[in-house]
C-alpha cells in the first residue's frame, strides 16, 4: 500500500510510541497534528501525556527535550521549520551535542529533533532554508535527511532507537510523495548511504529532495547515453565515505548536488574528502550543484529561478564529461 511521506512518518511515530513507553512527542501543535499533519491522531491514541503541545518557545522546548532525554525519556521534538532551530541553537549546539562528552560518558541524550526544511511553494526566506551544514559541523550531533517516504520510515525509527541526539530533516517538497514500504524490512543502519541508481560514467551524490532531481537528471542523461550512479547519502553526519569511494573508484567522476547554498555547504566537505582520498581516481574536477548565494525569495518565478534542479545537474554532468 502506498503512503505519503507524512502518513509514513506518522506510522513510524505511532509504532515507536507503541513499542517504547519512554518515547514522547512534543512540539508546537503536535497534539493537534502539527503544521503538516504528521502527528494527527497520535495524542488521541497514545494519550495527551505522550504527545504534548508546547508554547512557541524553541529554546525552552529543545532544552526540555534534552533534559528529559538525560533523565530516562526518549523525546521526539518537532521544530516546525529548520529556520526556527536558530532559536534553539544554545540547547542543540552547546548542551545536547556536548552532554555525553562533558559528563565523561555518564549521561546520554537519546533525542530526535524532527524538523522540516527546504523550499517549496513560496514559503520565502524564513521558512525555506537548508541549514544542515551548520549541524554537520557540531561534534555530538547526528544529521539525517531522508529522500523518500520509505527511507524516512526506517531512518526515523533507527534515529529514535540510536541513543544520541539526531537532527532529522524532512523536506517539505517530499511530504506528498507516495511510496509503499516493505513490511518487516530490517531498519537501515545510521551512517550508511544507499546506491539509489547504479551507473558507470559519473557518481552523483545527493540527499533529501535533491535525490528526486538526481533521478530526473539521470533519466535525461541516459537518453544521451550517459550512465549516472546516484548515491543517496541518507545520513549527512556521519558521512558514508566507503560507499562514495567505491562508486567514484568505478566512475572516476563525482558531482555533489544539494539545495543548500554552495558556500560552506556539505558539497565542499565531500569534494575535499574525495580530493584527499581519491585524487588519483579522478578523471575530472569534482563539481557541485547548489543554490546560488541568496535567500529563498517569495515569488514563485524567483524561487524557481534560484533553486537548483535536474537541469542544473544535467548541465554540470555534461560539462564534466566534455
Amino acid at each position: 500500500m502506498s503512503e505519503t511521506f507524512i502518513e509514513i512518518l506518522r506510522r513510524a511515530l505511532d509504532e515507536e510510541l507503541a513499542r517504547d513507553p519512554a518515547v514522547h512527542l512534543l512540539g508546537e501543535d503536535v497534539a493537534a497534528g502539527g503544521a503538516f499533519g504528521v502527528t494527527r491522531g497520535l495524542a488521541q491514541k497514545h494519550g495527551a501525556q505522550r504527545v504534548r503541545n508546547t508554547p512557541i518557545s524553541e529554546a525552552a522546548i529543545a532544552g526540555l527535550a534534552t533534559g528529559a532525554a538525560l533523565c530516562g525519556l526518549r523525546p521526539v521534538l518537532e521544530i516546525m521549520f529548520i529556520d526556527f532551530a536558530t532559536l534553539a541553537l544554545d540547547t542543540l549546539v552547546n548542551q545536547a551535542a556536548k552532554y555525553r562528552y562533558m559528563s565523561g560518558g555518564q549521561l546520554a541524550v537519546p533525542m530526535v529533533v524532527r524538523t522540516q526544511a527546504g523550499a517549496a511553494g513560496g514559503a520565502a526566506a524564513q521558512h525555506s532554508q537548508s541549514l544542515e551544514a551548520w549541524f554537520v559541523h557540531v561534534p555530538g550531533l547526528i544529521v539525517i535527511a531522508p529522500s523518500s517516504p520509505a527511507e524516512a520510515y526506517g531512518l526515523l525509527k533507527s534515529a529514535i532507537r540510536l541513543g544520541d541526539p539526531v537532527l532529522f530533516i524532512e523536506h517539505k517538497r517530499l511530504y506528498t510523495m507516495k511510496e509503499a514500504i516493505a513490511e518487516n524490512a530490517e531498519l537501515p543502519a545510521i551512517g550508511k548511504a544507499r546506491i539509489a541508481r547504479t551507473g558507470e560514467d559519473v557518481t552523483l551524490i545527493a540527499y533529501s529532495a535533491m535525490v528526486t532531481s538526481a533521478h530526473e537528471a539521470a533519466e535525461q542523461l541516459a537518453a544521451e547515453g550517459v550512465s549516472v550512479e546516484i548515491i543517496d547519502l541518507r545520513t549527512l553526519m556521519p558521512l558514508d565515505m566507503n560507499t562514495i569511494a567505491a562508486s567514484v573508484s568505478k566512475t572516476h567522476r563525482a558531482i555533489i548536488a544539494h539545495e543548500a547554498v554552495q558556500n560552506g555547504g556539505l558539497g565542499a566537505e565531500i569534494a575535499a574528502r574525495i580530493g584527499d582520498k581519491l585524487f588519483d581516481e579522478l578523471d575530472a574536477p569534482v563539481l557541485r550543484v547548489a543554490c546560488p548565494f541568496a535567500p529563498i525569495p517569495f515569488a514563485l518565478e524567483l524561487e524557481r529561478a534560484l533553486l537548483p534542479g535536474a537541469g542544473n545537474i544535467v548541465r554540470a554532468i555534461r560539462a564534466q564529461l566534455h
Binding site: G67, A69, C71, N94, R100, Y101, S103, G105, V109
Partner: protein, 228 residues
C-alpha cells in the same frame, strides 16, 4: 564548571547562563512522565533573568505543573555589572507573578531560612503543586572567576558583606543555642580537612590519557573517532 555526578543526581552545570533552566525543566518532565517522586532543583543567578530562556522555561514549568524548584541566588552582580544596570526589576520573585508561579524572596545568607523554605517548596513539588521560585538574596564573596581583580566594587562594600557570611552567621546562632565552640571548631576542621584531602587527591590523580580524547563524543561507540 562542568561537574556531573549522575549517580547522586547532580546532573551538571552549564557554561551558558540560563542554559541549564530548560534542561532542569526537562528532568522534571521526565520525573512527571515516569511517575517518580524525583524533583528537579536548578540554581541560577539574577543575571540569568535577562535571557529569554528563563521566561520561556517558567511559562512551560507552570503550564505543565512540573516538579521543579528554581533557586535564584540574587547576589546583586551579573559578572561585573550590578543588578541596577541590568534590570529595573529589583526582585527576581516578581517575574513569577504574571505566570502565577508560587515564589518567595528570603535572606539567602540565613542557612536555617533557606533550609526551611526549600524544604517546604520541595514538599509542595512532591505533592504536585507545580513549580516554585525561591529567590535567595545574597552577595558574592569571591570574584566572578579565579583571579578576578574586582575593580567594579569597593573594598568597603566587600568588608561590610563579610559580616553577613552565612557560615559565620550559623556559627553565631549555634553558639547562642548552646553548642560548645569546641564542637564547631572540630566540625569546621573536619570540613576543611575533607576539602584539602579532595584537592590533594585530585592533584595526585593521573591526568587523562590523550588516547581517550575521542571517547564519549557519541553514546554509540562506533560513532566515536569516525572521520566526521
Amino acid at each position: 564548571m562542568h561537574l556531573v555526578d549522575a549517580a547522586h543526581g547532580v546532573m551538571g552545570a552549564t557554561g551558558v547562563v540560563a542554559g541549564n533552566l530548560s534542561l532542569a525543566a526537562g528532568a522534571a518532565w521526565a520525573a512527571q512522565a515516569l511517575g517518580s517522586k524525583n524533583v528537579s532543583v536548578v540554581f541560577f543567578g539574577d543575571g540569568a533573568t535577562g535571557a529569554g530562556a528563563f521566561h520561556e522555561t517558567i511559562n512551560l514549568a507552570v503550564l505543565w505543573k512540573l516538579p521543579i524548584l528554581f533557586v535564584c541566588e540574587n547576589n546583586g552582580y551579573a559578572e561585573f555589572t550590578s543588578r541596577e544596570e541590568h534590570s529595573t526589576v529589583k526582585f527576581v520573585r516578581r517575574f513569577a507573578e504574571p505566570y502565577e508561579m508560587a515564589a518567595s524572596t528570603i535572606d539567602g545568607n540565613d542557612l536555617l531560612a533557606v533550609y526551611a523554605e526549600a524544604g517546604k517548596a520541595i514538599a509542595g513539588l512532591r505533592h504536585g503543586d507545580g513549580p516554585y521560585l525561591l529567590e535567595c538574596m545574597t552577595y558574592r564573596l569571591a570574584g566572578h572567576f579565579v583571579g578576578d581583580a574586582q575593580r567594579y566594587r569597593s573594598k568597603e562594600e566587600l568588608a561590610a558583606i563579610r559580616e553577613k557570611d552565612p557560615i559565620e552567621r550559623l556559627k553565631r546562632h549555634l553558639l547562642q543555642s548552646g553548642v560548645p565552640e569546641s564542637d564547631l571548631d572540630a566540625t569546621g576542621e573536619r570540613a576543611r580537612r575533607a576539602v584539602l584531602d579532595a584537592v590533594e587527591r585530585a592533584r595526585a590523580s593521573r591526568h587523562p590519557d590523550p588516547a581517550g580524547v575521542m571517547e564519549d563524543v557519541y553514546a554509540a561507540p562506533w560513532l566515536n573517532a569516525i572521520d566526521g
